[in-house]
C-alpha cells in the first residue's frame, strides 16, 4: 500500500475567521501566549465581496525550505511527510523564519529583544523526536495526537470543517466531493442510487 503525504487544506469558502483552530491549538499544546503555531489570516476585512479568510500553519512542505537552510540540521521529515524539528539541537538563529514562505516558525516573544530562544512550530499534532507520548515530548512539543490515531486538534475543532487534514489523497477526496456536490441539492441519509447517477 502506498502512503501519501500528510497535508492541510483550508477551504476559504467555508473559513469564517472564528479562530477555533488557533485557540484549540494553543489550549491543546499549552503554548505561551504570543506563540501562534496556527493563525487565521483575513484579507480585505470589512469590504463586501472581497473579504476572505484562511487558516495558516506549517504547510509541511515536501521540499521544506526550513530544513534546507537550518545550519544545525535540526529538522527531519517523517515518512508520512510531517516536518518536525529537534528543539534540543535548535540554536534559535531564525534562518528558518526567513526561509519559510508561510511565517510558520515561532520564537518566544518575551524579553527585551523578542526573538530569542528555540523555535516552535506546528507539529501536525505529531510531537517530536522524544519518546512518543512521553512527558518530555509533551513538555517540548505538545500533544501527540497522530500517535493516538486522532485528527490534529485544529481540524477536529474547526467549526465549519473548512480546515481539512490527513493523507493528501483523503484531503483531496473530501474537497473533490465538495466541489462535485456543488448545487446538487441536500445530502440526506442514506446517500442513494437516485443521487449517484444524477
Amino acid at each position: 500500500m502506498n502512503y501519501a503525504r500528510m497535508k492541510f487544506y483550508c477551504d476559504e469558502e467555508r473559513c469564517i475567521e472564528c479562530n477555533g483552530c488557533t485557540v484549540a491549538c494553543a489550549e491543546a499544546h499549552e503554548l505561551p501566549v504570543g506563540i501562534s503555531r496556527r493563525k487565521v489570516v483575513t484579507l480585505n476585512e470589512g469590504i463586501f465581496g472581497k473579504e476572505f479568510s484562511t487558516s495558516v500553519a506549517c504547510m509541511h512542505c515536501t521540499d521544506a525550505p526550513c530544513e534546507q537552510v537550518c545550519p544545525v540540521d535540526c529538522f527531519y521529515i517523517r515518512e508520512d511527510g510531517i516536518v518536525l524539528h529537534d528543539k534540543e539541537k535548535c540554536i534559535g538563529c531564525g534562518y528558518c523564519l526567513y526561509a519559510c514562505p508561510f511565517g510558520a516558525p515561532q520564537f518566544p516573544r518575551d524579553g527585551a529583544f523578542g526573538t530569542k530562544g528555540v523555535m516552535d512550530k506546528c507539529t501536525m499534532c505529531a510531537g517530536g523526536p522524544e519518546e512518543t507520548n512521553s512527558a518530555k515530548e509533551r513538555e517540548l512539543y505538545g500533544q501527540n495526537r497522530i500517535a493516538e490515531g486522532k485528527v490534529p486538534i485544529c481540524a477536529a475543532m474547526c467549526s465549519t470543517k473548512a480546515l481539512i487534514v490527513g493523507d493528501e489523497q483523503e484531503v483531496s477526496k473530501i474537497y473533490r466531493k465538495r466541489v462535485a456536490s456543488r448545487g446538487k441539492g441536500v445530502q440526506g441519509a442514506p446517500y442513494g442510487w437516485d443521487k449517484a447517477y444524477k
Binding site: I16, G20, F48, G185, V186, Q187, A189
Partner: protein, 749 residues
C-alpha cells in the same frame, strides 16, 4: 412570534436550513455567534445553491459569505420588509392560497405596504432601490426561503413589531411550515430556549402559563402545595397576578424616588436585595444606572463560576457575597437547543473546591427560608416517592406538568436515550433510524405524549400530527371582527379526522371536534382543556384522530391588543434622522411597564439628539467572547485574540476627527456617560456609525476599577463596558433595551 401563530420559538432547525433555496438574515451574525451552526448555512450555499442575503448595519463575517448584502440604517427593518412586500404584492408573488387558508389580517398589511415604495424605503433605510428590488426578487423566487434573526431585530423600542414583521413576510410568501423555510431565531446562549420555556422571567409561570388565578391553581395542584399557602407568600393577592421587574429595568426598582428616575409601582417599596445567578451584569444597558443601583442595595449575592462584574462595578463594600457556582461540566440535566430539541448533559467532573451546582444553592436557600419541602415536593408526586433524585425527577416533573408547549414526552429516560444514541439521527431531517426510527433528535417540542415523535418543523401540515405535523395554534379566539380565525377548508395536518380548521381541544368540545365518544371513566378523569389535562386523555385521543390538541387556526398579521395592530415603523428613541422622527414618532410614555413608568416620546422629544450626537452606535458580539465575558476573558488564549476594548470606525470618519488607527478615543452618549476605547480602522461600518463589542468590563468612564477584583480573579482582558454608553430606550411590549440603535459623539482622547 407567539402573538402571530402561537409559539415564540424557532420553527425549523439548524440542520433544516440546508434545505433552503434562499436564506435572508436580519440582525443576526451566525458566523460569529453560532459558528458551528453556520456550517449548515454554508452547506446550503454549497450543495443547494442557496442565495444568502444579509441585511445588517455592518459588513459582518456572515455578510462576507453572502451573495447579497444590504447595509441598513439601524432600526429600519420594518420599512425594509414593507418595501419587500410592496414589490411582492405589486408583482403578485405572494402565496395566495396560503394566505387565504392560513393567515388573518393580510389586507391591512397590503395597505401599509403600498405606502412603502422603493424610493421611500431607500430614503429611510439607506439601501438603494435597485438592491431592494434585486433582493426581493431573489428571495421571493427562490423558495423555500428561510428567515433568520437574532438580537439585531429584537433589541429595539419597536423590537416586538420587528418580530411580527418577519413572520408576516414569511407567511405572505408561504414559507411557513415547510422544510427549508420558517422563521429561525437563533438563540444567543446555551439553553436560552430552555430558560425561556421554564420562564426565568417575571411575567409568567413556567411553560408560558401566565399569572392568572387558574394558572396558579394548576401549579399549586401539580406541585402538591396549598394554593392559599402560595397566595400567602405575597404581600397581597394583587402581586400574585402582577408582572415583576425585568432584567433591563431592575435598576429603576432601586433608584425610583430619586430626581429624574422613572417611577415604580412596587407595593410601596424599593428593591433592597439582588440575587444574581449566572447573569453578566455588564451585558445590561444603562451601566451607570446599574452601578448606582448596585451601590444602593442592602444586599448583593452573586453566584457564578467566575467573579461577576457587579462586584467590580459597585462601590458597595459590605454585604456583597460571592458564591462559587459549579459550571455545566460539574452538573447534569437536560438543555434545550435553539430548535426546541432537548439533549441530556452528563456530569464530567464533580464540583471542584467549594463550588456547588445551582440547584444545591437554591435548595439551601429554600431550607433557610423555610419552604424546602414545598419547593421540592413536585418531584415526589409522580410515583409517590419518599426522596427524589436530581435532576431526573425534576425533568420528569416538568414533563408531567407542562402541557402548553407539549413537554409530556420529555421524560429523562427518553432524553438520555436520544443523547446516548445521537449517531442514529440524520443532521438535516433529524430523523432517527433503528431503535429511534420514527423519532426526531432531541424530541423537538411539542412532543404531545410519552411516545410522540417530536415536531421538527412547526406548523407543517404535510405531516400527520403523530409525525410532528400541526396547523397554527388557536390562541386568539374563534373570530375577530366577524371573521373566523380557524384555518380554511382542507388545511388540517395530514391524516386528520377533521380536514378543516378546528378550535383548541377542551373537555367540552372533544367529542364534537374529534368525532368520538368518551367513556364515563374518561369523562371523570379528563382535565378542563389540553393545557391542564394531566390525565393525558386529550392528547392521547387527539393522536389517534390526527388532531393537534391546540387547534388548527389561522396565523394573524394583526394583533389587536398591541399599540400597533400591524407592525408600524417608528424611529428609534434616539434617531439620527430628526426629519423622520417627526414623521414616524415613537410611542407615548408607558406607565407601569413591568412595574416601571417607562419613557418613550418624552425622551425622543426632549431635544434634537442628532445635533450633538450625530453618529449611530451599534453593539454586538465577538466570536471569541460570550455574554458579559466573565468566563471568556478569564481564558488567556481567548483574551489574546482581542486583548483590549475597541471601536470599529470607518477610516474616513476617524480621519475627520483626527483619530489614527490605534489611537484612544472617547465615545459620549446622550445619557451623559462616556467610555475611552481604542480606535480600530474598519470598512465594515459606514461613515455614519461606529461599532463596539459589549463583552468588556473593568473600566468605567475612563476609571480603572480592576483593583476591585478579589485577588487573583482579574481577567486577562479588561476594558470599558459598551453598555455604559448604550442609550435609554425599551421595547414597548417586552421592555428589551434598545441597544441596537442609539446615538453617540466621538472625539480623540
Amino acid at each position: 412570534m407567539a402573538n402571530t401563530w402561537g409559539y415564540g420559538a424557532m420553527t425549523n432547525s439548524l440542520g433544516d436550513i440546508q434545505n433552503a433555496k434562499a436564506i435572508i438574515i436580519f440582525g443576526a451574525n451566525p458566523a460569529v455567534n453560532h459558528p458551528v451552526g453556520f456550517g449548515h448555512f454554508l452547506k446550503a450555499k454549497e450543495r443547494n445553491n442557496a442565495q444568502i442575503i444579509v441585511v445588517d448595519p455592518r459588513m459582518t463575517k456572515t455578510a462576507a459569505k453572502a451573495d447579497y448584502f444590504a447595509q441598513i440604517r439601524p432600526g429600519t427593518d420594518i420599512p425594509f420588509m414593507y418595501g419587500m412586500l410592496h414589490i411582492i404584492f405589486k408583482n403578485g408573488w405572494e402565496d395566495k392560497n396560503f394566505i387565504n387558508d392560513r393567515v388573518y389580517g393580510v389586507e391591512d398589511i397590503k395597505k401599509e405596504a403600498k405606502k412603502w415604495n422603493p424610493k421611500k424605503v431607500a430614503d429611510v433605510t439607506g439601501v438603494s432601490e435597485e438592491l431592494l428590488m434585486q433582493i426581493t426578487r431573489v428571495y421571493a423566487k427562490s423558495t423555500p426561503g428561510t428567515l433568520i434573526w437574532a438580537m439585531g431585530l429584537t433589541q429595539h423600542s419597536i423590537g416586538s413589531s420587528n418580530t411580527r414583521m418577519a413572520p408576516i413576510l414569511q407567511l405572505c410568501l408561504g414559507n411557513m411550515g415547510v422544510e427549508g423555510g420558517g422563521c429561525n431565531i437563533l438563540r444567543g446562549h446555551d439553553n436560552v430556549q430552555g430558560a425561556t420555556d421554564m420562564c426565568c422571567l417575571s411575567h409568567t409561570l413556567p411553560g408560558y402559563y401566565g399569572l392568572k388565578d387558574g394558572s396558579w391553581k394548576y401549579f399549586a395542584k401539580s406541585w402538591g402545595v396549598d394554593y392559599e399557602w402560595l397566595k400567602g407568600r405575597f404581600k397581597s393577592k394583587k402581586w400574585m397576578n402582577a408582572k415583576g421587574f425585568t432584567l433591563a429595568k431592575w435598576y429603576s426598582g432601586v433608584l425610583a424616588g430619586r430626581p429624574g428616575e422613572d417611577k415604580i409601582d412596587n407595593a410601596g417599596t424599593n428593591l433592597k436585595a439582588l440575587f444574581v445567578m449566572g447573569n453578566g451584569i455588564t451585558s445590561i444597558a444603562q451601566q451607570a444606572k446599574v452601578k448606582e443601583a448596585l451601590d444602593n442595595l442592602e444586599l448583593i449575592v452573586l453566584a457564578d463560576p467566575f467573579v461577576n462584574e457587579a462586584a467590580m462595578l459597585t462601590d458597595k463594600k459590605d454585604d456583597v457575597f460571592i458564591l462559587p457556582a459549579a459550571t455545566q461540566f460539574e452538573s447534569s440535566g437536560s438543555v434545550t437547543a435553539t430548535n426546541r430539541s432537548a439533549q441530556w448533559r452528563y456530569k464530567v467532573v464533580e464540583p471542584m473546591y467549594e463550588s456547588k451546582p445551582d440547584h444545591e444553592i437554591m435548595f439551601e436557600l429554600a431550607k433557610r427560608l423555610g419552604f424546602y419541602e414545598e419547593y421540592t415536593k413536585g418531584m415526589l408526586i409522580k410515583e409517590n416517592k419518599k426522596s427524589f433524585k436530581f435532576p431526573e425527577d425534576a425533568t420528569d416533573e416538568i414533563a408531567r406538568i407542562i402541557k402548553t408547549i407539549g413537554l409530556t414526552g420529555w421524560t429523562s429516560k427518553r432524553l438520555k436515550f436520544h443523547t446516548d444514541n445521537w449517531h442514529l439521527f440524520d443532521e438535516v431531517s433529524l430523523r432517527g433510524i433503528g431503535p429511534v426510527k420514527g423519532e426526531y433528535y432531541g424530541l423537538p417540542w411539542p412532543v404531545w405524549t410519552e411516545t410522540h415523535s417530536g415536531s421538527p418543523i412547526l406548523y407543517d401540515i404535510n405531516r400527520s400530527v403523530k409525525e410532528g405535523g400541526m396547523g397554527f395554534r388557536n390562541r386568539f379566539g374563534l373570530e375577530h371582527d366577524g371573521v373566523s380565525l380557524l384555518a380554511g377548508k382542507n388545511s388540517a395536518p395530514k391524516d386528520s379526522a377533521n380536514p378543516d380548521g378546528y378550535p383548541e381541544i377542551t373537555a367540552d368540545n372533544i367529542e364534537e371536534v374529534l368525532g368520538i365518544k368518551l367513556t364515563a371513566s374518561e369523562k371523570k378523569r379528563i382535565g378542563k382543556n389540553w393545557k391542564v389535562d394531566t390525565s393525558n386523555i386529550i392528547a392521547q385521543k387527539c393522536m389517534e384522530r390526527g388532531i393537534a390538541p391546540y387547534g388548527n387556526a389561522k396565523a394573524r398579521a394583526k394583533v389587536w391588543t398591541f399599540p400597533d395592530q400591524i407592525p408600524m415603523h417608528r424611529e428609534p428613541i434616539h434617531s439620527p434622522r430628526e426629519d423622520l422622527v417627526k414623521k414616524y414618532p415613537t410611542y407615548k410614555d408607558k406607565p407601569n411597564h413591568y412595574r416601571v413608568d417607562t419613557k418613550y416620546a418624552s425622551v425622543q422629544n426632549k431635544e434634537n439628539w442628532s445635533k450633538e450626537f450625530p453618529i449611530n452606535l451599534i453593539t454586538a458580539r465577538l466570536v471569541n467572547m460570550s455574554g458579559a465575558g466573565l468566563e471568556t476573558r478569564a481564558s488567556k488564549y481567548l483574551s489574546a485574540l482581542t486583548p483590549e476594548m475597541f471601536c470599529d470606525i470607518n477610516p474616513n470618519l476617524a480621519a475627520n476627527h483626527g483619530i489614527r488607527n490605534g489611537d484612544m478615543m472617547w465615545i459620549h452618549s446622550p445619557e451623559g456617560t462616556k467610555i475611552k476605547v481604542k480606535a480600530h480602522y474598519s470598512y465594515s461600518v459606514g461613515e455614519d456609525r461606529v461599532f463596539i463589542p459589549f463583552h468588556f468590563a473593568g473600566f468605567f468612564q475612563g476609571e480603572d476599577r480592576t483593583g476591585n477584583y478579589p485577588e487573583g480573579t482579574e481577567p486577562y482582558a479588561v476594558g470599558e463596558s459598551a453598555n455604559t454608553v448604550t442609550n435609554y430606550g425599551y421595547d414597548i411590549i417586552t421592555q428589551l433595551p434598545e441597544t441596537k440603535g442609539g446615538l453617540c459623539r466621538i472625539e480623540k482622547a
